[in-house]
């Protein structure tokens, strides 16, 4: 059985704002050492699917360094590959990807060249564990044309999902009897996970039929069209599904790693990442200083902790200086929290610096504060909850000592 996987990894998400200024969401750091795409990549590896095309277009540099030659997921060899498929300029026009379906359509030659028995199309920005072989077995058993992964519709934010009704009595799933793309409120029981398993001929026909139209999205255009004249099945996923589409969801999904019995267990899930990216592998063990206090937190090599860290996730190379306090926060690679600074409910992007005695956020219920990559919050500055600091700012961009909730510093 030749299965070709395609990962849609090119998108950025408006709600994540400064965190996706310079990177697609799929390479957003997650969980203390990973990138979000590590989860689908590891799922593929653990499912024995080792032929992968990754569709990217938004600022792909970090994605390219992260995927490298696929070696971190063992996807190198004579019959194994993980290749990035960027958009390219066509003979007739600039063929920038005009939607998820268009992205796949423009790479039909790549798919046909590999000539797979099945095409698995997944998103690069979800945190979950799935053995795709179960999905494949279900698909083959049902003789389906298309099988779509679903999970029970969450109560909040239901309007963001494609929703379906799944018939039959098989607990694994059944025929999709109804499908609505992102309706205003929750109408149907099952939410699409944007996991599509296609019989290749069905995929080719659907994409070619869609090509002349104005809109090219799998959820909005392809699935409703297929429902009319194909065997479309829904496969029910019952495990953890981490949403990361808003800051709040992204924060919560990170916090799901904490505790003795976490909802996300990367060792149990056998997650791999690229340890060469940002030189994770060459960093020394973490130093926990004599005056440190660390509780209910994650940290990695290269960290140096002299202050207090509570309920937080620290990526490699984070420094928390003497007297500083970090609570309910996520600090990306090489962030520095200088002496006696205090941050609560904040997300600091790569190489951010929080100056001495600065105050960020307020308490455990206030909105999240975000500091963009390589920005330095000056000494003594106070950022109330919900402030957004754009990337690459230094002291000269901060014109006052205190910023109110919701202000954006750019």
């Amino acid at each position: 059985m030749k299965v070709l996987a395609l990962i849609l990894a090119g998108g950025r998400v408006d709600e994540l704002d400064v965190l996706t200024f310079y990177r697609p969401k799929s390479v957003l750091p997650f969980g203390g050492v990973y990138r979000i795409i590590d989860f689908p990549m590891s799922n593929l590896m653990n499912s024995g699917i080792e032929t992968v095309g990754i569709l990217s277009q938004y600022r792909p540099r970090h994605l390219i360094s992260h995927i490298a030659n696929g070696e971190p997921w063992d996807m190198v060899g004579r019959n194994r590959f993980a290749v990035i498929l960027p958009p390219y300029k066509g003979r007739e026009a600039s063929d920038w990807y005009k939607g998820t379906a268009d992205a796949v359509c423009q790479n039909l030659d790549f798919i046909r060249m590999y000539d797979p028995d099945l095409v698995l199309i997944i998103s690069g920005d979800h945190i979950y564990r799935m053995d795709y072989q179960e999905l494949i077995a279900f698909h083959l058993e049902k003789k389906a044309d298309v099988t779509i992964g679903f999970t029970r519709l969450p109560k909040e934010g239901a309007h963001r999902f494609g929703q379906a009704e799944i018939g039959g009595r098989d607990r694994r799933g059944g025929k999709v009897t109804q499908y609505l793309e992102k309706p205003r409120k929750s109408v149907l029981d099952w939410a699409s996970l944007t996991i599509y398993l296609f019989r290749p001929s069905v995929l080719y026909e659907a994409l070619e039929a869609n090509a002349p139209r104005d809109s090219h999205e799998f959820g909005k255009d392809i699935v409703p069209a297929l429902l009319a004249n194909c065997q479309v099945y829904g496969f029910k996923h019952s495990g953890y599904w981490g949403y990361t589409r808003s800051l709040e969801e992204y924060w919560q999904t990170n916090m799901d790693l904490l505790g003795k019995y976490p909802r996300i267990d990367p060792a149990l899930w056998r997650v791999r990442t690229n340890l060469a990216h940002r030189n994770i592998r060459d960093r020394r063990p973490a130093v926990i200083g004599p005056s440190a206090r660390v509780e209910d937190s994650l940290f990695y090599s290269g960290c140096t902790i002299h202050g207090t860290v509570v309920r937080s996730v620290l990526f490699p190379g984070v420094t928390v200086e003497h007297g500083a306090e970090v609570k309910d926060s996520i600090l990306f690679f090489d962030t520095v929290v200088q002496r006696e600074a205090r941050i609560v409910r904040a997300i600091a992007d790569i190489e951010a610096c929080i100056g001495p005695v600065a105050r960020i956020g307020h308490d455990a219920r206030s909105p999240l504060t975000v500091v963009g990559t390589r920005s330095s919050v000056p000494e003594g500055t106070v950022l109330h909850p919900g402030v957004v600091v754009h990337p690459n700012l230094d002291a000269s961009h901060f014109t006052k000592q205190m910023y109110d909730a919701g202000e954006v510093i750019r």
Partner: protein
């Protein structure tokens, strides 16, 4: 630097490290949480741009070979870069075990003659230090030396452990004393030699001498230009249990010169045969950890003080670890107490066991020269039973199980063999 061939002597047995070297060569002994001792020398070689290194092994080389692999962890792989692991028995005779450091090099001279080299750097793989060999090579060339020996001032009371050089005002070595009872100088050899390639080839061809320190260097003093290059940075031989523990503990001392070295040291993380990458370390609520070095994938639920933890160490609730070195994937069960211990990989310390607590003045009776300074050693995959009390200066051999312990108390200085 491309004209310098590097030879790394990694054959040392390191007997005094006792159970730490029962299943591995000394250079492969884990160090500083994530490293092995050889990482320091290999990183030194890679960092100063030496493209090719031969590693001479002999004693239990398997974990060493796994660790070095193709050298890519140190960026020593590519079209012009290489690590060659040279086991013995490459000579013409049927049974050519190395008889000494010089003999080991003699049996692998092909490595030197097969390239266009002007000098040969010979280093030992069992010291902890960071050094740029570039200025050393330059010093050697400027002095038109045949041999340059790296020397380090050591405390006078330790001079009997080293090769000691007496130098003139131009740094030329005029006399040599191998491990003298009463030394005339405190300049000690670090086991780092630069040889003029042609001089080395001629000497090794002409003689059958077996050891650099005992034979080759004294002979060179008679007939050639031998210089001392002074090194002033951090350097530790980690040949004894106490020295090994001290060097690890230097990593917890902000004043020690070892910590600033670490960013330059690279290791190979991918040899553990794990199906996943080590996740971040996790500290639970109400756990307590201070002044420690913590590698990824540790889970801390109890108390840890002044300790060095390798990847995958678990310290359960109400367990207490102090002044100890704990290697990969060892688990300290709930309520256990561990003090002044060196715990090898995959050890289990049973619930409410007390290990390493007792009278430090009672030396180990089976190995009094190895374990006498108040440290307790626990071998790889040993299982310390629940509520067991293991005293000070004890040794538990690897793979020891519950049935190997007689009673609930192992007095100070006792050994559980396996």
């Amino acid at each position: 630097m491309r004209r310098v061939a590097a030879i790394l002597l990694a054959g040392g047995v390191g007997t005094r490290l006792n159970i730490l070297v029962r299943h591995r060569a000394k250079p492969a002994v884990p160090f500083g949480g994530m490293y092995r001792i050889i990482d320091f020398t290999l990183s030194n070689i890679a960092n100063c741009g030496l493209p090719r290194v031969a590693i001479l092994t002999q004693y239990k080389p398997l974990s060493l070979m796994d660790h070095v692999a193709d050298g890519s962890a140190w960026d020593l792989s590519g079209r012009t870069r290489a690590v060659k692991i040279l086991p013995p028995k490459t000579g013409e005779k049927d049974w050519d075990w190395y008889r000494g450091t010089a003999d080991a090099v003699r049996q692998n001279l092909d490595f030197v003659t097969n390239g266009d080299y002007s000098e040969v750097l010979i280093v030992s793989g069992d010291h902890v230090y960071c050094m740029d060999y570039g200025p050393l090579i330059q010093f050697h060339r400027e002095n038109r030396a045949h041999v340059t020996i790296c020397m380090l001032p050591v405390p006078w009371e330790e001079t009997d452990q080293f090769g000691i050089g007496i130098v003139d005002e131009k740094s030329r070595i005029i006399a040599w004393e191998e491990k003298p009872k009463k030394a005339r100088s405190n300049l000690a050899s670090m086991g780092v030699y630069v040889f003029n390639r042609d001089y080395l080839l001629r000497t090794l061809h002409e003689t059958k001498d077996e050891d650099f320190g005992h034979h080759i260097i004294p002979k060179a003093l008679q007939e050639a230009r031998v210089f001392a290059y002074a090194f002033h940075g951090y350097w530790r031989g980690v040949g004894t249990i106490q020295a090994y523990w001290d060097a690890n503990m230097d990593l917890l001392d902000p004043a020690s010169a070892l910590m600033p070295c670490l960013p330059n040291v690279k290791t190979n993380l991918v040899t553990e045969n794990l199906q996943y990458d080590r996740p971040p370390s996790k500290i639970l609520a109400r756990a307590h950890i201070v002044n420690s070095l913590v590698s990824p994938d540790c889970l801390i639920m109890g108390r840890v003080e002044n300790s060095v933890l390798s990847p995958g160490v678990v310290v359960e609730k109400d367990a207490f670890v102090k002044d100890s070195i704990i290697m990969h994937d060892s688990i300290i069960r709930a309520g256990a107490q561990v003090e002044c211990c060196i715990i090898d990989k995959e050890v289990s310390i049973g619930r409410k066991a007390v290990v390493g607590v007792g009278d430090a003045s009672v030396v180990n009776s089976a190995y009094p020269t190895h374990v006498h300074s108040g440290l307790t050693l626990i071998g790889k995959r040993a299982k310390i039973p629940t509520k067991m009390h293991v005293g000070n200066n004890c040794i538990i051999f690897s793979e020891a199980q519950e049935k190997d312990f007689h009673g609930r108390v192992l007095p100070d200085g006792q050994t559980v063999e396996k």
